[in-house]
């Protein structure tokens, strides 16, 4: 009997691992930044380059940092969701225009609509690198103390917004 059960059990275990592997995005790498203070920076605003923004300005607020670019295709997919989120006025969304030309970034927002509370320009991508950005779009949830609570690699979806990000934002705001 053992002769049949053992290979069958091994087969089952393997199947579970392989099945789990099917649903995984291999691009997703757990970010070591979650649970750590958001890296400090000072960057100019996209629309008014003479004004500067720093994460310190958001101290005491829960906020989203959304990394996007005019050249990024998946950003267009998540754009309607961001528009919707900004209409609901639940949480400030700071857009970070990553490795882009300021003109292109501005044109994109003018054409498609601007969901952001403010947009900062990281035209050479230095700040993006500090945040461990390697695929655009990426979205960070940052808490009142300026600690990164969550990082999403890839486009927002209605599902992960509803099931992960919004409950997390509500929880952090209540703290």
């Amino acid at each position: 009997m053992m002769r049949f059960i053992l290979p069958f059990v091994i087969f089952l275990v393997l199947s579970v691992f392989l099945y789990k592997g099917l649903g995984r995005d291999t691009r997703e790498v757990p970010s070591p930044l979650v649970g750590r203070a958001a890296p400090a920076f000072v960057l100019p605003l996209l629309h008014e380059p003479e004004k500067k923004f720093s994460p310190k300005d958001m101290q005491g607020k829960v906020w989203l940092l959304n990394v996007w670019a005019s050249w990024c295709g998946a950003c267009k997919d998540e754009h309607p969701l961001l528009m919707e989120l900004s209409r609901q006025n639940i949480v400030p969304i700071v857009g970070l225009d990553y490795k882009d030309k300021a003109v292109d970034g501005e044109m994109t927002l003018r054409r498609a609509g601007d969901p952001y509370s403010l947009v900062i320009a990281d035209l050479d991508g230095k700040v993006g690198f500090d945040y461990g950005v390697y695929g655009v779009p990426e979205t960070y949830v940052i808490d009142k103390q300026g600690v990164i609570a969550y990082k999403l690699i890839g486009a927002l979806t209605a599902k992960n917004l509803r099931e992960t990000i919004l409950p997390m934002v509500a929880g952090l705001q209540a703290k």
Binding site: T26, R27, V29, P30, S31, P32, L33, K99, G125, F129, D130, Y131, G132, Y134, G135
Partner: protein, 162 residues
């Protein structure tokens, strides 16, 4: 006239100048050091390719940052630490042995131990199953006869085993 124009056409290539490929970094020694280091780093957008081989924008950025840090006097280890801090240990092809990566590093040894234990168990069990059968004098003779018999294949085989 015709020969003259052919001659002139032959001279034409002399007028074409190609720009000389510029060393990416001005310092070839540092460039080599950078590439050696970049071999140890995984391109996160392409996964199974090192940053040194990849043409992705992200890898280009990483190489540029390596150059800048090297110019600023950072050691190789400092640069790797910086990358791990931002992108996690999976950027290294050879991640350090620690609490988090222990399952990864120990898995082959655990599997080897399990396999060895299984093999040991099987062999022990089989040893217990094989019984030495004492042959009687008559059976001995028959066995000798069978072994010497050239038409062994044709003789009907009688199962003498238990």
């Amino acid at each position: 006239m015709r020969y003259l124009s052919i001659l002139l056409l032959c001279l034409l290539p002399a007028l074409s100048f190609a720009g000389v490929a510029k060393d990416i970094a001005d310092d070839p020694v540092m460039e080599r050091r950078m590439m050696l280091l970049a071999e140890k780093v995984r391109c996160l957008v392409c996964q199974s390719e090192p940053v040194s081989n990849s043409h992705s924008d992200w890898s280009k950025d990483v190489r540029q940052i390596m150059r800048e840090k090297m110019q600023a006097g950072a050691s190789d280890q400092e640069i790797l630490d910086l990358l791990v801090e931002r992108f996690g240990k999976s950027v290294l092809f050879d991640p350090p042995v620690d609490k988090e990566t222990m399952p990864l590093w120990s898995a082959p040894f655990i599997l080897l131990l399990l396999g060895g234990a299984g093999l040991f168990y099987q062999l022990r069990r089989r040893k217990g199953q094989v019984v030495d059968v004492e042959l009687s004098a008559q059976e001995q003779l028959r066995a000798c006869a069978l072994l010497n018999d050239p038409d062994l294949k044709d003789t009907p085989q009688k199962d003498t085993h238990a």
